[in-house]
């Protein structure tokens, strides 16, 4: 039976992972970590007499607090042997990973988590979620990406994507570690019930208005948050190490996705966006992603390896559904 530490449990993906693991009979103790107060969704778990779940507030981007967590009595008492690291992706879909001293907190956290997982000898498994937008895209809408596809190491890539690529490479570097089993799950756009969308750089960022290059409409592979949580559970229970693509069945154009999520991405001339992006970088860098291959070219993921080695298969469908208030929303439902 695995005893699991889940990071960023206060963010949407982390919450979903905790819920799934909590109901898994193969999981014992659950130590959950977040930067904010415990989510209300955990109230009934915390009130449960079994005391299987506990929640602590920790800033994982600070070395001291991360070190205190990994060497704490709570971690020893819970006999944690597995860490599920859900990188910071924003408590709301408007939020982006903040940048401190030029280094995205997401990257700093990834470094500290890997370092402490290697140091603490009782931890034998590290499962982490990464973004599939780390891949280099070729012209066209039909990029079929496998785990060994080339990463986008272009130095001019947008900071938001850069942080995902850095995280990916940090975990990738430890996949072959002898003592620690590392599993990296690369996921595309994650859709949660209620019309929430995460990890799509084309729809990220604050504000109500986004831009995309005119004349391009990349296909976006989708996956339900519940399927991501199922893949994490499969990785926890597996004895395999490696990198796996995790995706659902549906693929929709970015324009359709932005319409469904009411996060309009207006088409504008590509050259104009490129100039604006350069100006913003010169002025100190802005969070808006104005241009880049991910806004031009689409991709889908080959999930064959995850199917064969982890036993993962998507079981949730994504589509529009009319809620009680009569509004059409993006929803997920069991296939």
């Amino acid at each position: 039976m695995a005893n699991v530490l889940v990071t960023h449990a206060d963010e949407p993906l982390g919450r979903r992972v905790v819920k799934t693991l909590y109901h898994d009979p193969g999981v014992g103790q659950l130590l959950t970590v977040g930067a904010g107060p415990p989510p209300r969704a955990f109230d009934r778990f915390l009130a449960d007499g079994s005391r299987r779940l506990s929640y602590v507030r920790v800033d994982l981007a600070r070395h001291r607090s991360a070190s205190d967590l990994f060497h704490s009595a709570a971690l020893r008492e819970a006999e944690i042997d597995t860490v599920v690291h859900v990188p910071r992706h924003g408590a709301t879909q408007d939020e982006e990973a903040p940048v401190a001293a030029g280094l995205p907190l997401r990257t700093a956290e990834a470094r500290l988590v890997v370092q402490h997982c290697l140091e603490v000898r009782s931890i034998r498994n590290l499962v982490t979620v990464g973004s599939a937008y780390v891949y280099r895209l070729q012209p066209g809408n039909a990029n079929r990406l496998r785990e060994n596809s080339e990463l986008d190491l272009d130095p001019t890539v947008a900071p938001e994507l850069r942080s995902w690529i850095d995280c990916d490479m940090i975990f990738h570097g430890e996949v072959g570690a002898e003592r620690l089993r590392v599993v990296l799950l690369r996921v595309p756009t994650v859709v949660a019930s209620g019309g929430y969308v995460y990890l799509n750089p084309g729809l990220a960022g604050p504000g109500r208005l986004r831009f995309r290059p005119a004349g391009f409409d990349p296909m976006c592979a989708l996956v339900a948050d519940k399927d991501v949580a199922r893949a994490v559970r499969a990785a926890v229970e597996s004895d395999r190490a490696g990198i796996y693509n995790v995706a659902g069945v549906e693929t929709v154009p970015l324009s359709v996705l932005s319409r469904w999520t009411r996060r309009p991405a207006l088409p504008a001339p590509g050259s104009l966006l490129r100039l604006a992006g350069a100006a913003m970088r010169w002025a100190g860098g802005g969070p808006l992603l104005l241009h880049g291959d991910h806004l031009r070219y689409g991709f889908t993921l080959d999930t064959g390896l995850a199917e064969r080695e982890l036993g993962y298969a998507p079981s949730y469908r994504i589509g529009l559904s009319r809620a009680g208030d009569g509004v059409l929303r993006l929803e997920t439902s069991a296939a």
Partner: protein, 410 residues
């Protein structure tokens, strides 16, 4: 549109092929350097490296088995008698040089590869099984019952039951733009076609044709023709140049109507899913050839043969008559095209004098002829794709057949 087959150089010479050269084979894709198989002695292999060895040429031993390919392979269909099967002549030439031809490898039953087993084959219902949709607009009124059934069947192309397949095909977009292409097909190009019985009714297939005319209307007319003349209605997925993926709006349009960027993975996936795939193995060389070279096939990329062998898909040779007349190219400014990063910079009677309008095709009459399918996989199996010489040889067989079809149908 082109096959960008990554393994082929595709830059064979542009000299005309001579269909009357019975013993001529072009093993290296250069028609000016034929390798002649003599009828009264050992093969004169010219620059063939095997010729300097004492050992028997394993390649020649393999092509000895080509004879059964001349047999009809498509089920229950009439053949195109006007087309002389070139492989039969090859067999005659080779047969005299081989003392004891090895028995042909017994044909294995088609078995899907591991990828095919994992992926569901897309299949469309027969027209009689499609529910006739309501007539909702004037466009629908223009179409007959059969065309409306065909358009209704398109929804089965999207495996997930959604609105888009993973390549970006949108059946709804196809329905919307179909009237325009139907008008081009019926009224503007007045397409005539024959040999539809050679198009497999189901399963993967590769339609390999000659390319011409600067803008790929030959591909569009080919897709419409197959769609209108197959039951169940099949929508061929044309393989397009990667360059098309960088063009604003064009890339979106191509994706929505089912065209796919020509990468090895996409090609493999399309065949695994059981789609018919339309390729133009000449690539860009086909569309930018000058008027003096019209209807003379350029060198073939060979990637499509590899894919056919691996996916156990038949190759249907297709001749497009009319495409080379739609935009006669007087001269191609290749240097300027390279500087601009575009495939061709043509001078035509109307371009650049009339601006972009000068690129529009003339209202020439199109004829499309489908030849007998090659089932190379039955003879050589998927492992044949690993043999570069064999693949090149088979690609040239397809090329010669297409050239024959073109010459006899003009």
């Amino acid at each position: 549109m082109s096959d960008t087959g990554e393994t082929g150089d595709g830059e064979g010479g542009g000299a005309p092929l001579d269909p009357g050269t019975a013993g001529g084979l072009w093993l290296d894709g250069n028609p000016e350097d034929p390798i002649v198989l003599s009828a009264d002695g050992p093969a004169l292999l010219g620059r063939d490296p095997f010729a300097e060895l004492d050992e028997p040429d394993p390649f020649l031993a393999r092509i000895d088995g080509l004879a059964p390919l001349a047999r009809p392979v498509a089920p229950t269909r009439a053949r195109l008698h006007a087309v002389e099967p070139p492989v039969a002549r090859v067999d005659e030439a080779v047969g005299e040089t081989a003392e004891a031809p090895p028995p042909p490898r017994p044909a294995e039953p088609p078995r899907p590869g591991p990828r095919a087993r994992r992926r569901r084959r897309i299949s469309l219902p027969r027209l009689s099984e499609v529910e006739l949709p309501d007539v909702s607009g004037w466009v629908e009124r223009w179409f007959g019952e059969e065309e409306r059934r065909r358009l209704a069947a398109l929804t089965h192309l999207v495996e997930s039951g959604g609105s888009y397949d993973r390549f970006g095909l949108s059946p709804e977009t196809v329905r919307r733009v179909f009237p325009l292409f139907y008008a081009l097909y019926r009224v503007y190009f007045r397409v005539e076609s024959r040999g539809h019985e050679n198009i497999p009714v189901e399963g993967p297939a590769i339609l390999a044709g000659n390319h011409g005319g600067l803008l790929p209307f030959d591909g569009a007319m080919g897709v419409v023709d197959v769609f209108l003349n197959s039951d169940p209605p099949r929508l061929p997925r044309a393989i397009v140049e990667r360059w098309a993926g960088t063009l604003p709006w064009v890339n979106v349009f191509y994706a929505r109507v089912g065209q796919v960027i020509g990468t090895r993975e996409n090609f493999t996936d399309l065949l695994d899913e059981g789609h018919p795939v339309l390729v133009f193995p000449e690539g860009v060389s086909g569309i930018r050839k000058p008027i003096s070279q019209r209807y003379r096939l350029q060198g073939f990329h060979v990637g499509f043969v590899e894919q056919a062998l691996r996916a156990r898909a038949p190759i249907v040779p297709v001749a497009f008559i009319g495409s080379d007349d739609q935009t006669p190219i007087l001269y191609d400014l290749k240097g300027l095209a390279r500087r601009l990063g575009i495939p061709a910079m043509p001078i035509t009677p109307t371009f650049p004098w009339l601006g972009p309008l000068g690129l529009l095709p003339y209202p020439v009459k199109y004829r499309i002829v489908y030849g007998e399918p090659f089932e190379f996989h039955e003879r050589f199996g998927p492992e044949g794709a690993e043999d570069a010489r064999l693949v090149r040889y088979l690609a040239n067989q397809v090329r010669r057949t297409v050239q024959h079809l073109v010459d006899r149908s003009r």
